[in-house]
Symmetry: C2
Subunit: 341 residues, 2 copies
DNA sequence: GTGAAAGCGCTAACAG
DNA sequence: CTGTTAGCGCTTTCAC
């Protein structure tokens, strides 16, 4: 059996004073004589005393723990957001407990419930793809538990959110294609229920209109963000009687899958079909041709989310939900080089 | 201010019975009358009672929390291992608290100290690159705190570890090159202090010997696993008067960096220089040429690590440290196609 | 200046 | 069958 770590009691007994004295001495309470204070602190140091957070948690109903729920732990996008959260959280004395919803609505509810049972001080999360009901957040909102959504959000008027300028980014991509001479611009979008999907579609359509291009329903296909589904979506596009000459994928994984499928079908990029991704992972520079992509400030998303959490955690009264919109940047590479005349 | 959640006391008062009765009823203690038990459980359900883990933690000195320390949260390798840990941990009622050491020895010690202060039930970790002193684990070992190392390990006779068959994998790669007709086989290794580096170098040298090839010091270069450093290492190899015709990178990131540099210098892969990576990320299939790589069972590493933790956590007496060795597989792709005669 | 007591939420002897 | 008590580690009145 593991022995219990040194507690205030241990120190108190060793010094033949009361626990409360030790407690005060450790926090430099002015009531305690300087000498005693010094003696207590010295012994504490020596015995490696560290206050038991469980006891403090019980007392204060505060655990300095943030629950983080992501749809998927492995994807670079989420991994680097977690990294951002972790950094800011730790800097402010918080720990993070991570759970994956595996893109499942059911699992998301479970994770949420588990984390609340664990008494986390708040939640930072990204909605699962499946999630289309948002009632499971009622309890949090009622109890004013700090809550922050990032990337995929809902109830944005009630909850703090961190998102990127999806619409603008989609406009920029579409315009970029147009300026490169591409006229049949397709978009492999994500699941229709997600805000990011909708926003990017809107931007795509706005830019088409601005460029004087018609919006063709057949050039807008959906995928569930998996590689298999992105491949299938690409196949649907390429099977069209009048196939697109440019494809804008909802993220880099989608774009990579599309790239693979294009190559498999013997199509040249960008001569036959140009390609742009979204997120800008390191690998965008390694694939051939290098992939034009929208740079997503992933680490900043995480950091900002953590800051929004802290804002709520520290506020005496529940603050109005803040929306943070981070800006993206189009990084042009070979996969979208201007169309040869 | 957030209101406190319902406690046993709440239930007890509502039903005008004592807390202990409620406590027993909730756990179906045979002493409590069936009707009372039912009534209590019903109310608990209704009021969404959930036992306070802080209170339980105080009582039992057990938090059902595992501290996980990785050198880096973003890398696919660690992200998927974390995913494996998370899955098994959650299945067994544990939560994981994640920290990144950022490959720093100092930070690693901090993370460890922080997690212990948090009263985690144990630690699962991968050593930071910088770490070459292992005294900070003494306290854990003394206190018999469950500890599991994965991938990069130390004190393997005292601590449970999960590793892959690095030596065998390196032998297989080297032999694969040899069989493809390559004779000047270089290895971009990791930092010399890491066990994985040493093991892979040993396997590399063994296979060279077995193939009747001399070991040339200049063909063995080190990098710190960063992209920049891998690029520099590649440059050193290519600057040799008699440059290698095959390169075996210590991981995929290294291989990708090498690939990029090879292309930059106008060298063809594999005609001029063949390339093999280690870890087999998805992107190995997207780059051009597709990258031959050693498939690392990352998720399994995480799962196995979690199981080793559970074994220790549940054991009445501290069990002898178990070493798990997982097997890898060489996935052959275009970057190491046989050398044209 | 310092100590005693109560309480955060819970369980486990020990009584009845 | 059920209630009382003590204690896990800590802070905070309230006494002295």
């Amino acid at each position: 059996m593991r022995k219990r770590p040194v507690s205030l009691k241990t120190l108190a007994q060793a010094l033949s004073v009361s626990m409360s004295t030790v407690s005060r001495a450790l926090r430099n309470h002015p009531d305690i004589s300087p000498e005693l204070t010094r003696k207590v602190q010295l012994l504490a140091q020596e015995l490696q005393y560290s206050p038991n957070p469980l006891a403090m948690g019980l007392l204060r109903s505060q655990t300095y723990t943030i629950g983080v729920i992501v749809p998927d732990l492995v994807t670079h996008f989420f991994a680097s957001i977690i990294s951002g959260i972790e950094r800011v959280a730790n800097e402010h004395g918080y720990h993070i407990v991570i759970r994956s919803s595996y893109e499942s609505y059911q699992k998301e509810k479970e994770c949420l419930a588990d984390l609340l049972k664990l008494r986390v001080d708040g939640i930072i999360m990204c909605l699962a793809q499946e999630t289309q009901e948002y009632a499971h957040f009622d309890a949090l909102l009622d109890a004013e538990v700090p809550l922050v959504f990032f990337d995929r959000v809902c109830r944005a008027t009630e909850v703090a959110t961190v998102v990127v300028d999806n619409q603008e980014a989609a406009r920029r991509i579409t315009r970029h294609f147009f300026e490169g001479g591409y006229r049949r611009i397709a978009h492999i979008a994500g699941p229709a229920s997600l805000n990011i999907t909708q926003e990017r579609i809107e931007g795509y359509q706005q830019a088409l209109a601005a460029c004087g291009l018609p919006f063709e329903e057949s050039l807008l296909v959906h995928c569930d963000l998996s590689i298999a589904s992105a491949t299938a979506a690409t196949q649907r596009l390429l099977a069209l009687p009048n196939r697109p000459d440019a494809i804008f994928g909802v993220n880099d994984t989608t774009a990579f899958a599309a790239m693979k499928e294009l190559k498999r079908q013997g199509l040249r990029i960008p001569q036959d079909v140009a390609l742009v991704g979204f997120t800008d992972e390191f690998h965008a520079t390694v694939v051939e041709p290098t992939l034009t992509s929208v740079m997503h400030p992933t680490v900043e998303i995480g950091q900002e989310a953590a800051l929004l959490f802290l804002e709520q955690a520290r506020a005496a009264t529940h603050p109005a939900p803040r929306q943070t919109i981070l800006t993206t940047q189009l990084v042009v590479r070979d996969s979208s080089a201007p169309k040869p005349a």
